[in-house]
Amino acid sequence: MKNKNKKKWYILFTVPLLIIFTTVVIIPFLIGIYYSFFEWDGIAANAKEFVGFDNFVELAGDERFRESAWLTILFTVLSVITINAIGLAFALLVTSKIKSANAARTMLFMPYLIGGLILGYIWQFVFLDVFTLLGEVTGLDQIFFNWLVDPEFALFGLVFVFTWQMAGYIMIIYIAGLQGIPNDVIEASKIDGASPWQRFMRITLPLLMPALTISLFLTLSSAFKIYDVNLSLTGGGPANATELFAMNIYNEIFGSGNYGLGQAKAIVFFLIVAAITLTQVYITKKREVEM
């Protein structure tokens, strides 16, 4: 009697969410694997043709897909470095005993709240007008020009804007990490005569490893999956020079109407994302220092 009752409550508490979750995530995931073995144009009336692993063979030879893979990796590596470096620098600044630290923290976090789509549009104008103006005024038109129309520089523009969006967010995580470092450890090192640089490298940084793990995980996966900023800032252009993974998949499916091939790409995308993030978490977890 009591056991039966327990089961009833269990069902009542968990099943509503499980139904929604299964409908939205699990079933589409399974259907997606199935679709990746077919050739189909997405029109319900047209037949799906089973092609086995052909889609996967085709995507391996797809020049544009390989190019976008390379661009995505480059973008991710650059963004992860700049976001974490700037985020950590911000965190160190606003946790020091400077009076305006709180106000600065509030302001630095602001861009993260504005959605990626809108940020991209804002920066389109900054690159178009302000950068050109700065180039004219300062004479440094090798640095200040509209990056977005230059195939070589557009990707850096994307890194730049994405860093602007994420640095404040990552700063918050590093702040939480810094505040978790016990004061007496810092004090002890001061008494022992450690220089600020030694203190940072030998004490602060090792004790920040948990925060670093999380920050790397978040920046890595969000950089790899970037879409919104990509869409509104460059739209993949000029001449596909900034068409990253997520956008390439979207264009293959909904742009070119290659549903099967596009879905096969999406599955490969998932496998890569999973492999990278799991490896990264595994490696940094191992290096965390236990207090």
Partner: protein, 278 residues
């Protein structure tokens, strides 16, 4: 001496932060300028504050309708996510068996799936549900809310799960002996204790649902269902050349975010810090 140095440091930090936010300043000042003024110098303050572009942008973006849709979707989704995922997480933590562990593991594992992997089959499945079973999933705000719950449940369950594990079970046992039902125990005793993590879950989900573009762009077809990111996207496609109008539109979209931030600033920063450490 050290006083002046402190002051200098404080001032420098603020200048840095202001410089960081300068793109937002640029958008706002230029939304008041006419064409000539804008091209003369995009960095100066406007000669006069005319709101003509705001009126026009509001009209062309259908801003009030988009704002209403965004607000409705975000609030209902977040409330339901909080209710459903806290209840689920509690049961999973307090029922120590294989099934609960497997369910929890599935939630965690799916966090690795990018949205792009699910979007096409999801749309196929949702339109099948709409067409064959007459469940209005596709092209309705409620359908989008349903999908939002599904996509945001993993992270929310994960955060609640971690928090609930740290609550001693003795409190609940005492209440159960007093004859309270599971439902009563959860809502009267447990849920109030979850406040800090509920704040985190709410903030993370509000930010991500409010700003979401791709999912709404795939599910919502009718123009009068558009959310703010959607209407910005279509508006921008049409008026890129008219930058002052475009910037008035962008400023409009930032206003709700700034208000939200001003009201809940402390909770937001605390919530995000805590959410990440978990």
């Amino acid at each position: 001496m050290s006083r002046t140095l402190d002051f200098l440091k404080a001032a420098l930090l603020i200048v840095l932060a202001l410089f960081f936010l300068s793109p937002i300043y640029i958008i706002i000042v230029n939304s008041f300028k006419d064409r000539q003024e804008l091209y003369d110098n995009p960095l100066t303050l406007p000669d006069s504050f005319s709101f003509q572009y705001y009126v026009e942008a509001m009209d062309k973006m259908n801003f009030l309708s988009a704002f209403g849709n965004s607000l409705y979707i975000t609030i209902v989704s977040v409330v339901l996510i909080v209710i459903l995922s806290s209840m689920t997480a509690w049961m999973l933590v307090r029922t120590d068996d294989k099934l609960s562990m497997v369910i929890f593991m599935v939630f965690i594992a799916t966090m690795l799936i990018p949205f792009q992997t699910l979007m096409m089959p999801l749309m196929q499945f949702m339109s099948t549900l709409t067409n064959t079973l007459n469940i209005p999933m596709y092209n309705t705000l409620e359908g989008l809310i349903f999908m939002n719950i599904g996509f945001h449940s993993s992270l929310s369950v994960f955060l609640y799960h971690g928090f609930i594990k740290s609550i001693p079970i003795t409190l609940e046992e005492a209440a159960t002996i007093d004859g309270a039902s599971k439902f009563g125990v959860f809502w009267r005793i447990i849920f109030p204790m979850l406040k800090p993590i509920t704040a985190t879950v709410m903030i993370l989900n509000v930010i991500s649902i409010w700003n979401d573009f791709l999912l709404p762009s795939l599910t919502l077809i009718d123009t009068d269902l558009r959310t703010i990111p959607l209407s910005t996207f279509y508006f921008f496609g049409e008026f890129t050349i008219q930058w002052n109008l475009a910037m008035a539109g962008l400023t409009l979209t930032i206003i709700p975010v700034v208000i939200f931030y001003a009201l809940a600033q402390k909770h937001i920063i605390k919530g995000i810090g805590e959410g990440a450490v978990k």
